[in-house]
């Protein structure tokens, strides 16, 4: 119950943590990308805006200048026509000049009207003065148009010199002023574009700076988090492997304790209980030897006791052998394996061969026990599952390892079943001595269990 509770709460606390991490990353990186997208769009917009406004400013400038030039040349031309009119003695010709002058006047009027919308409100001043100058110019000319040829001859030149030309010059200078205004307007347009660009640059720098800062913040945050996760994972791994090795040690100790316990119980049974029963048997036999023939029931009872004691001795002997065969300690590994082989053979009729090479009598106890128990387990499996006719047990001591194989000619098994069948127990024993286990088997082709135990196990056991 307790462990359950702990598990649940830790799982609960992990889920929101994960959620906030994910949200933070989403917001952070999403925001960064949005900022980048914004500044990109901004740049595209600013650039296209700059190109169009630059073009239109230049276009307007050119149109205004053209119109101004036309006004200027019309004004100039009007002066020429006035002069021609005033200096013409022939009245007919003078009328023609006057007609031309009227034409040019209406042309100027229309030019001025067309020019008006092109002028920015703040630059209206020079235009208005050009316009009023133009009106007063025409007004001052009006009396001269009614003059006959005599009057024209008499006052014409003077009028031309004193009225027409100075006015024309004034108008032309106003036109120059308007030209100057135009120039300034062009410059102002350039300035506006440059201002837009500067503002854009400032904005870009700001956005990039924010993006960079956010990026650095996010990167360092993510990195710290990743490193933290890595550390935690490593710590977990360490914990797990530590726990696993502790478990392994524990299981090795358990096996060792079990073996020792079995050995001592077996010895006690065999030596203490068995010997005592043997002693009882001797006494009963002696009793039987000295009992009188009559009454017969006495001898019958004594004989029954003898039979019971004999059975008990056999029972104790079998129990001791099952727990741990004393021959493993008294005679060594190979005789104990041969005993096992004979026992299986006796019980099940399977032919069991034991081949042992270079196995020293004083094999370390750990190795001896391991090999004996592995063979015991393997023979148990053979008897139970393999339906074998014969089994071959090989033990071979090499320079740096001991090789053990148990091969049967039974029904074999599928690959996925290799791990079952008490193999876990075998594996545990062998791995405790840093050895390795291999099972190769195919249905119908028997089974081979191979075990390699390193000589370091020997050294360890001897130490």
């Amino acid at each position: 119950m307790r462990t359950n509770g702990v598990k649940e709460s830790s799982a609960e606390s992990r889920i929101p943590l994960l959620f906030t991490t994910r949200t933070a990353l989403l917001i952070g990186y999403g925001g960064m990308l949005l900022l980048l997208a914004f500044s990109g769009l901004d740049a595209i917009q600013v650039l296209s805006q700059m190109r169009t406004s630059n073009g239109s400013i230049r276009q307007e400038f050119l149109v205004r200048n053209k119109r101004l030039d036309e006004i200027r040349s019309a004004v100039y031309l009007s002066g020429t026509y006035v002069r021609d009119y005033l200096l013409e003695p022939d009245p007919e010709k003078a009328d023609r000049h006057l007609k031309l002058l009227e034409d040019i006047r209406s042309q100027i009027e229309s030019e001025l009207a067309a020019y008006e919308p092109l002028v920015r409100p703040e630059n209206r001043g020079p235009y208005q003065s050009l316009r009023s100058e133009m009106n007063s110019y025409w007004k001052s000319l009006a009396p001269a148009f009614r003059w006959d040829s005599a009057a024209r001859r008499k006052q014409g030149y003077q009028f031309l010199r004193d009225e027409v030309f100075p006015r024309r010059t004034t108008m032309l200078s106003i036109a120059d002023r308007i030209g100057g205004v135009n120039e300034r307007e062009l410059t102002a347009g350039d300035q506006r574009i440059s201002d837009t660009f500067t503002a854009f640059r400032t904005r870009l720098v700001a956005v990039l700076a924010i993006t960079l800062l956010l990026g650095i913040f996010l990167a360092s945050g993510s990195m710290r988090h990743i490193l933290y996760l890595e550390r935690t994972a490593a710590q977990h791994l360490e914990d797990v492997s530590e726990a696993r090795s502790e478990l392994k040690d524990l299981s090795a100790k358990l096996l060792e304790a079990q073996e020792n316990e079995r050995r001592s119980i077996s010895r006690e049974l065999h030596d203490a209980v068995g010997q005592s029963l043997s002693a009882v048997l001797f006494e009963v036999r002696n009793l039987l030897a000295i009992l009188p023939k009559e009454p017969a029931s006495l001898r019958v009872h004594a004989a029954t006791i003898r039979g019971l004691v004999e059975n008990s001795i056999a029972m104790v002997r079998n129990m001791a052998l099952l727990l741990r065969p004393s021959m493993l300690d008294d005679l060594g590994l190979v005789p104990a394996l041969e005993w096992q082989a004979r026992e299986l053979s006796r019980r099940s009729g399977v032919i069991v061969d034991v081949t042992a090479e270079n196995i020293p009598d004083d094999l370390p106890d750990e190795l001896k026990t391991c090999i004996f128990r592995v063979v015991q387990e393997a023979l148990h499996n053979v008897a139970k599952h393999a339906a074998a006719r014969s089994v071959r047990i090989r033990v071979d001591s090499q320079e740096d390892s001991i090789l053990l194989s148990v091969q049967d000619d039974g029904i074999g098994m599928e690959k996925d079943r290799h791990r079952g069948l008490g193999l876990v127990g075998i594996q545990e024993r062998v791995e405790n001595l840093k050895g390795s286990v291999m099972v190769s088997s195919e249905p119908g082709k028997g089974t081979v269990l191979s075990v390699v135990l390193p000589a370091t196990a020997m050294a360890r056991a001897e130490a």
């Binding site: 043997s278 036999r285 002997r317 004393s326 008294d330 004979r342």
Partner: protein, 216 residues
């Protein structure tokens, strides 16, 4: 004929005194000493030079089989009978190799112990009937299971004769005078027998004879 002088060694007092009582009833057996462990048994045997020593396998300080080895090495004329709880042939072979010629189970009948002492005293080998039966059964079963020919069939009549005599504890010299052969010929027969039966020593030969029920 003089009595058979016997030393009994067992760490259980009850068994020792039981044995003594039992053997004491026999007219031709005399228990001249008792030992509670293997070391004592060896020392006592060296001192008293008995005809037969009866040794329990499981004894403190020095076990019965080791004691048998030492006694056989020091006193070639003294015979050893092993008393054991184990019926496995591993123990039998080891005892034979240690020099014992009698191997009895502790729950053997009274008569077996007397018979064993008499047999080894005459230089013969002796085993509990249960042991003989187990060994013989195993042998027969193995032959049947493996479907192999009994190598005994390979022996000539003379070799079978010599095999039995060897198993009964006769020396080459005894055999040569018994069969009126030269000791050299007996030795040749002996090594041929061992070779044909794939045996390597006299103890193995004795064990083989028990399995084949050539001797009891």
């Amino acid at each position: 004929m003089s009595n058979i002088r016997v030393i009994v060694a067992d760490d259980h007092t009850v068994i020792r005194s039981g044995l003594k009582l039992m053997l004491g009833r026999e007219p031709d057996v005399e228990v001249i000493g008792e030992a509670a462990d293997g070391r004592q048994a060896v020392d006592l045997a060296e001192k008293l030079r008995p005809d037969v020593v009866v040794l329990d396998v499981a004894m403190p300080i020095l076990n019965g089989i080791e004691a048998a080895r030492q006694i056989a090495a020091k006193l070639p004329k003294t015979r050893v009978v092993i008393l054991s709880m184990h019926s496995d042939e591993g123990y039998v072979l080891k005892s034979l190799k240690a020099g014992a010629r009698g191997y009895l189970l502790k729950d053997s009948a009274e008569s077996d112990i007397i018979n064993a002492i008499r047999a080894v005293n005459e230089g013969k080998a002796y085993f509990s009937p249960e042991i003989s039966r187990l060994l013989a059964d195993d042998y027969v079963r193995q032959l049947r299971q493996r479907d192999v020919d009994d190598s005994y069939e390979l022996l000539t009549t003379r070799e079978r004769e010599i095999l039995q005599l060897l198993a009964e504890g006769k020396s080459n010299k005894d055999i040569s005078s018994l069969l009126d052969l030269s000791p050299y010929t007996v030795e040749t027969h002996r090594s041929k027998i061992l070779q044909k039966l794939n045996l390597h020593s006299l103890p193995e030969l004795i064990l083989y004879a028990v399995r084949k029920r050539i001797i009891i």
